[in-house]
């Protein structure tokens, strides 16, 4: 985490109000005392880093819980790197067939790929292997979830506006890469679910207009299930190419934040031209490190206690087998939902297909959603806020009812499609007919955004009028008994 130093840092007016600190700064006799000063001096003489360290220690983090969502994503990434490195030591990315002779009886002496066999062995025969694999998978689910919540926070508070639009684009790209990275990981073990997921991915790649066939053939090295080199392509993408891109973009994301300083919510003493909050050292560093450890604790506890993706139960994949209720990880649930909701439209001319059906749900729908998200800063300038000023103070959702209502409406449409992706399992539990459910979701996809738009706008307008906070206040009244024995009520 390196950040350039502003040139006139020391000259800037500061209102620390700390007598002890000033006393320290005033001692300039050049002589050092104490081990800490020795250590800092050692570094400073070699790197000239004392000024950078001071700048970093005084870097101010505004106090708000929602600013930690991005940190949760960052720390999930670190957990993913650590656990993934462990897994890479034992995984063999090859689809060459071998006869399974591990400890799991139902697959005994079946012909399986080295990839699947090594994933089973690292789960069953390597000490701590299953713990690491499950922690890795939970971390992946939390990673994308944290990015998504972070994105919602950014959208609903208008944090994507100038000067943070570049960083917003980087963040969106991180989300796209995280989803791709997660899917690649889900596809690596060559179990039944990962194979079915790859088949769908291949069909979606094939469905691209004009380039579909050659594109899918180039990626897979031929027709699905692809050349023997496909597994190693997937592997190199999962363990090197995409993580490297993620790491570079995360570094850029953080650097830009530190150049611009955090945005902040309006409040007493908080202005466009300052940042009010806890300095990095010591309180914030401890809290943030505590968050890292707490996240790691949650992920490791879940990795140890709650089973995730038990690939041995799914069995090996072959293109001619399939299981009911096959699902992708949650972050692709909206795409399987879109594929299922799409009516059986396929555009063709004279017996030649032009637009195959998976294009609509698998490419067009996510394409529209992400194009809308990338265009949001422009849409905001042009249609929502209708101004192009620089903003370092955030808006609360109720401060801009039109934006909040629009974002909530789009989100509800995606949520409906997402729900449709798991409709088969939900309706299996409750016994409704699947076709009816699909028609219900098709209707809800059109109606829900309108209702949500109207509802959200009203709630925002009303909250703004009442100056109430939906989470931090209650709407009751405090009744106090007065000295005359009567009761008086007043807003608390």
């Amino acid at each position: 985490m390196s950040a350039p130093l502003p040139s006139d840092r020391t000259a800037g007016p500061r209102s620390t109000g700390l007598p002890a600190r000033e006393a320290q700064q005033q001692r300039s006799d050049g002589r050092r005392d104490g081990a800490v000063e020795d250590a800092v001096g050692w570094v400073d003489e070699r790197l000239g880093a004392a000024r950078a360290m001071r700048w970093l220690m005084d870097y101010v983090f505004p106090d708000h819980w929602s600013f930690l969502l991005g940190e949760i994503a960052l720390y999930s990434f670190l957990v993913l790197i650590l656990s993934g490195t462990f897994l890479a030591l034992f995984f063999d990315p090859s689809t060459t067939q071998t006869v399974y002779h591990g400890g799991y009886a139902p697959l005994q002496s079946q012909s399986v790929s080295h990839a699947y066999s090594s994933a089973l062995n690292l789960s069953f025969n390597v000490s701590g292997g299953l713990l690491m694999r499950q922690t890795h998978h939970w971390a992946a689910l939390v990673f994308v979830a944290a990015i998504t919540l972070h994105l919602l926070r950014i959208v609903f508070t208008g944090a994507y506006r100038k000067p943070r639009d570049i960083n917003y684009f980087i963040g969106l790209t991180l989300l796209v890469l995280a989803i791709l990275e997660g899917f690649a990981g889900y596809s690596l073990p060559d179990d039944l679910l990962s194979g079915m997921g790859l088949a769908i991915a291949w069909a979606v790649a094939m469905s691209l207009p004009v380039i579909g066939g050659p594109f899918a053939f180039a990626l897979w090295g031929g027709r699905f299930p692809g050349a023997s080199t496909f597994e190693s392509r997937l592997y190199i993408a999962h363990v090197f190419i995409i993580p490297a891109l993620l790491a570079v973009l995360i570094a850029a994301h953080l650097t830009i934040i530190m150049i611009q300083r955090h945005s902040q919510f309006p409040g007493p003493g908080r202005r466009e031209d300052n940042v009010v909050g806890t300095p990095m050292w010591p309180g914030y560093a401890l809290r943030s490190l505590g968050l890292f450890m707490a996240l790691a604790a949650v992920l490791v506890l879940m990795g140890g206690l709650i089973q995730i993706n038990p690939i041995w139960l799914w069995g090996p994949y072959h293109p001619y087998v399939g299981t009911n209720g096959a699902q992708p990880d949650w972050y692709l649930g909206w795409l399987i939902g879109a594929l299922r909701l799409m009516p059986n439209l396929e555009i063709s001319v004279f017996g030649h297909t032009l637009v195959p059906n998976p294009f609509f749900g698998g490419v067009l729908f996510p394409g529209i959603v992400f194009t809308g998200l990338y265009a949001l800063p422009w849409l905001d300038r042009r249609f929502i806020s209708r101004e192009r000023a620089r903003h370092d103070l955030l808006q609360r959702p109720r401060d801009n009812p039109r934006r909040s209502a629009l974002a909530a409406a789009v989100f509800s449409a995606v949520a409906v499609v997402f729900a449709a992706g798991s409709a088969d399992r939900l309706f299996f539990q409750f016994g409704f007919a699947y076709e009816g459910a699909i028609w219900f979701f098709r209707g809800a996809f059109l109606i829900a955004p309108v209702l949500v738009y109207v509802f959200t706008k009203r709630v925002c307008v009303r909250l703004a009028r009442e100056r109430a906070h939906p989470l931090r206040s209650w709407s009751g009244q405090v009744v106090v008994r007065n000295e005359r024995g009567g009761f008086e009520s007043g807003r608390s």
Binding site: G12, S15, T16, L18, G128, L131, M196, W202, A203, S207, G213, F217, A218, R223, R261, G267, G269, D273, V275, V276, T278, P282, A285, L286, R287, L289, L291, F292, A297, V298, V300, L301, M302, G303, G304, L305, H318, P319, Y320, V321, G322, N324, A326, I336, L339, R340, L345, E346, S348, H352, T353, P356, N357, G361, Y434, E435, I438, R467, H469, R472
Partner: protein, 336 residues
Amino acid sequence: MSRLWKAIVAIVVWRSGRSRSRHGTDAVSPQADVASPRYVDPTERHTGASTGVQRAVVLLLVGCAACGFGFLALFVLHPQTQLLGLALGLALALLAGALILAGRRLVPQETLVEERPRPQDDREVREVAARVDASLDGITRRGLLAGAAGVAGAGLTAAVVIPVVALGPGVEDQLSHTPWRAGRALVDDEESPILASDVRPGSFITAFPRHADKDNLGSPVIVVRVDPSELRPPAARAGWAPEGIMAYSKICTHAACAISLFRSPLNPSTETRGPALVCPCHYSTFDVLDGGSVEFGPAGRALPQLPLAIDAATGVLIAAGPMSGPVGPSWWGDNQ
């Protein structure tokens, strides 16, 4: 799931109670005014950790160390996933507790106000622009140079892109190719030939071409049998279903999943729906009586059918010709 639900409800109840008790202490809004008694000075700094807090942090750190050594012992002696996860998770949780407690209660609590660096004027911008303009001083053929650079870029792009597109011409051939030829026998997953007499109404058999790669998308077919009088196939497919036995590609024309569901009503007289093949991924449903046409779901075209014949000598099912169309999902320009 019910346990999970109870836990969530408990957390919500606890959380709402908590937010009520905190009400009023951190009501920070832009309208809050400095004179208000609830106004908190943003630059306040509090020091002085109680000995209780210090002791608690020490205890948490010691607990973390104990769990860490416990993990080590388990790893060596009894590497069971749940115990390992508990030990390492608790060690991390205790460390997190120590760090959070230290961050909030041990070290000084302070708030700083930092100036936000903002561009004061655009003098720097103008200087950069001037430097760029100055680099073109004395160059007369600017348009020509820019054009040449554009040509170079186009050439390089073509050099990179064309090899990818060059894969194109083969795609159609490769995708249309299946191992099925007239006369090729149908075998099951253990290479035993499939006898026509084994295929009975309601049967659902996955078959492959004899001696072919079973993982080839063109290979797997589903063999089913219906009452020939109920068949209403396209006219061109007369004779494709000897004795009502039919074979369809097992690969869905929507997204390449294996069609591993056969809805086969036992008592057709009480059923409004006929026999159909269903894909478990997106529930595309194909009518087996009607040449595999789409009955429901997202698939855009019918399931390819394999014409069948019965070998007179052995009674084994054999292919009577190639598949009726391209197997698997559609692509731009395919020939339906």
